[in-house]
Amino acid sequence: MFRGDLFIWASVELLWISVNVIMVGVIYSHTPTVAGWSMYQMLLLVGTSMLIQRFLMGFFWSGIFEMGRNVRTGLFDFILAQPGDPLFMASTRKLELDGLLNSLVAMGLVAYSARKLGLHPGLLDLGYYGFMVACGVMIHFSFLVMAVSLAFWITSAQGVEGSYFTLMEFSRLPKQAFSGLASVIFVWILPVVVVSNAPANEILHGFNRDWMLGLCAATIVWFALAVLVFRSGLKRYTSASS
């Protein structure tokens, strides 16, 4: 990556993190709690959500984003010609340093919020937190792969990758804010709330077996679904070569 690009993209990500922090700041300047969460608890949740997203951006985003474009243009042939699993080869082609750099900012936000809350998580808690964040990254990855795989069916579906960002907005909200149908859809059917709430709860309240099991189950199910959808789509792919 060019130095200028790295600087710009790192600034982009930093600015988006700032936008979310400012939003939390503005809301909490008018109310002491939201769904029973204080401002620093909410910032810890936002930081965790951002951390998961930055890791996804750093490790997988470019590869997956290009995958959709390459399927449309026929350049996906290049991936298929490589000696490896197509999903792995397509999604791990590029490492984005800007996303990884900003994961440090997200970690800083989590650490700052924990400090403000007077929390001192032990090594085991941090280990569980790291594992849960990794599960969250895999769930995000799976969702994104499924969204981009639509390109195998709908060739004009440019920009459906953006749907990922829309759904992941829910991951910045505390589970307690959801009720009724929204709780069923976004907490239980789609794992968008669990991915961030589970690790944030680990730091805030310590280990919870239900959160851990729920997150592991969601990771396995969503990853399996992503592989299934991707492989079904791959069968429909028509090569650009003669």
Partner: protein, 265 residues
Amino acid sequence: MTKYGQAFLAGLQSNLVYRWNFGVRSIFWFFHLAVVYILWGAAYAANPTIGGYTFAQTLTYFVVIFVLQFFIGAFNEDYQISEDIRNGLINQFLLKPIHYYGYRLSVFAAARVVSGAFGIVALLVALPIFRGYIVIPHDWTLIALSIPAMCLTAIIQFSIAYCFGLLAFWFLEIQGFVILSMAVETLLGGQIVPLDLLPPAVFNVIRFLPFFYQAYFPAAILTGRKGVDFALQGLAIQAFWAFVLVCLAEFVWRKGLKHHTAAGG
């Protein structure tokens, strides 16, 4: 029919090809609205009003902001312009008696007609669901003032996107600049939080920036968050920014052309 009318019709046809994109976008509009409903609903649970506004007023504000984006928001015009430059398609406009800004503005208007139709459908579906939370303004003066405000907002949004697209004359990749700008526009345009919830000192600075007029201003007039005096003052500032940005667009275009090399036959 004028050449720009023809460009509008051509834009209408090409945008209808991407109707699925707009359809998907309008579906995800509901998810945006759900996030707003859940977050602000939780914030309002312990407070009858926030910043002097009820939950219904805040939800109405966001509904209007989202719908306005379908009608007057610039989606990917910057990307299309940068692609024209990178692929050399811009060369044909240098030979024809048509101004590129006018051509692109016509295509932008056509795209907004298509996306606006999806916006109306999304709104018609949303209204019965959120009926109890929608506060419809009854001040006809404000509604009348919102029409020029929306037109000027469209020009401001398009001109900013146009200028960013033209950066492709100098840079190979402009997406970084575009998304950087989008973050600023989203925040200072009032798409994340209503700007009147910011501290008054900050609000009074932001209202002199062009971003203020990209979404917040027409939405604030339409939803009655601000009165007639504020709307009239705002319209003057907005017209100033629209003029400045159109001039800037022309300036960047001329500078860019001097930098441009057309190759091929």
